[in-house]
Symmetry: C3
Subunit: 261 residues, 3 copies
């Protein structure tokens, strides 16, 4: 486990993490990125997206409030990131909930080299071709677990993080379970998107090891969630404490707090 | 009063509440919806808005940062919601402040079957054809009160909620005054939009009784505001405590805390 | 120093401050504006932007997530504000980071009469024609200081605020250093944008004296930052406390807390 060392690297190098994400969570993912120690930048205009992606250390694509021009920007930015060797993490928000989301997520996976896909069980099951019942973007499908992560990683040919009460990360061969986190994470909109952004931060300093980066990100975010829950009185105070907790994560103790399986 | 029972129903059924709203408050209304116990989903692309609206239990339309494509999406989503029998709540943010907002709000009211309109006195007075002096979207026009709510409900042929220090809800025949709330609600941007989203949540489990749903939503939101104000030291801590308070609303005591007239 | 008196004027007159800003910080700048005592309004549609700008007391332009239609709206709104005599403050977010941002900021400066430009050292250095190394919109270029502010004000022919650990404001002749603030401001996304919005609020009641307005805004925002830091445990609690602090700023003591040079 090198989550602590990689967190330290994020804070020292302050990698630029380019995010093309949804309107609902932009402020939240920017602040989570900044609290962790990286530099967020949001840019989606066709006039600049390639230039921005080519200087960033990682690219986060999130289809939570997708529309035609934003998807086009994701494709252009993703191609630039691929050329520059910067890893891409994809959050297929709501895949399965509408055809447009499913088709767009598949298109991004087909046209770009994606390093990590991070989604809930229903979204990942949809992309992996497994049927799933989906009720909104906050929904969790079936208790999918390790098999789903592995099957999806196989099918999508990239690392897949299926997050839920216990997260499962797989590269198609290995499967790592991460049991860090807290149930209050499910009461705040955008915590999934934040975990995707945090995955982008770890990818930025761990470009060659997407499985490790994805696991470390979920450990770091989960530990922050545990810290944030300590004095929370509900979703509001928890949400605020989450930024404090990300900012105060201790690289020296992070590895020992990982609940892996 | 069945606010407590309907809150309980929201938490049990977790209805999907589709929201096409403004950029400023998207995160806030999503989190208020989630804190109350419903599932928010934001989607505005023409490619998916109909599909999303047809599976949701209620639709929230808010013109706070309107533009051509968003208004078009509202019309398509609204028609799908009407066909599916899902109630629509409209927030005519800034009606009267610019011609475009007034015209758009009128257009939505004319082309769609709206269950509830929720606005401040100035916005509602504009839509009801009464002159009003409006200074920005946070402004309150005159101390309109019960007459305005009733006249507007008559003119617009739907339930109308006029919110302010005391809220007035009318279906054109009855008028209910709701005195819950706290003055700090006026110091946080988007609390009006949140009360509209909460109205959508109650409508989702009370589709046949929009007057009751609208009243219960304002009671629930007002009581949460009272709870949030208890330890607040200003708009920041109040805003955070508001999500905690929505999350911690007690169905067993909610009815008894209603200040109706 | 008349920061206290001007803060008092803001609270009494509640000027309407029209903001065309970026998706990431819209809620934040609206809430900062409201907490200070002014009325924020966000509007960007070509159908209404001129009408809104013509009734506002100041206009805030921020290119943080610019795109073609938004830039067009800024030009139209800016022209209307100029005609109405309402001062404009420009936040050139990311100027220098991409060509599109640099060109757009220059275009706005060329086509509109801008009262104040507020940016970090890297952004201002770019616009002033000085080379700067820029790493994302949260980055700080070189320790530019008074000379940069003065040279930029000269080159851009308006008041320039270069913010950082110490802020420098110049009209090309005088240079005022403002040492208020706290390092936690750098850990929250959008605090620069908030300081621009606050500049718009002071400009709204100090239209004839942009240098004074810009200085007073940075004093007020910096003092609020100092107050917010007192009990903060990280970026989350600091961010929340910042709104409380803006709301609780005391006009009677504000001048005496200014750290000017």
């Amino acid at each position: 486990m090198t989550a602590g060392a990689d967190l330290q690297a994020i804070r020292e190098r302050k990698p630029l993490v380019h995010q093309i994400t949804n309107y609902v969570v932009m402020n939240e993912t920017a602040n989570a990125t900044l609290a962790l120690g990286a530099l967020p930048v949001m840019a989606h205009a066709p006039q600049e997206v390639e230039e921005m992606a080519s200087v960033a250390s990682a690219l986060v694509l999130n289809i939570g409030t997708l529309s035609e021009h934003w998807v086009a920007a994701m494709v252009v930015a993703g191609a630039a990131a691929n050329r520059a060797g910067a890893p891409i993490v994809l959050d297929p928000v709501g895949a399965g909930a509408t055809t447009y989301r499913t088709v767009t997520a598949r298109r991004l996976l087909s046209e770009l080299e994606i390093a990590v896909v991070r989604g809930n069980a229903a979204e990942i099951a949809t992309l992996a071709g497994r049927e799933a019942e989906i009720r909104g973007v906050e929904a969790v499908g079936d208790a999918a677990g390790p098999e789903l992560a592995q099957a999806a990683a196989d099918a999508l040919e990239c690392v897949v993080s299926v997050t839920g009460p216990v997260d499962h990360v797989s590269d198609g061969q290995r499967v790592v379970a991460v049991a860090n986190g807290h149930e209050l994470l499910g009461t705040v909109s955008g915590t999934g998107c934040m975990s995707t952004a945090i995955t982008g931060c770890f990818l930025a300093v761990r470009q060659a090891s997407p499985l490790e980066a994805a696991v470390e990100a979920l450990v770091a975010f989960g530990v922050a969630g545990e810290d944030a829950a300590r004095d929370a009185r509900g979703p509001g105070t928890f949400h605020v404490a989450l930024y404090d907790a990300l900012y105060n994560l201790d690289p020296a103790t992070l590895d020992s707090r990982a609940k892996l399986d």
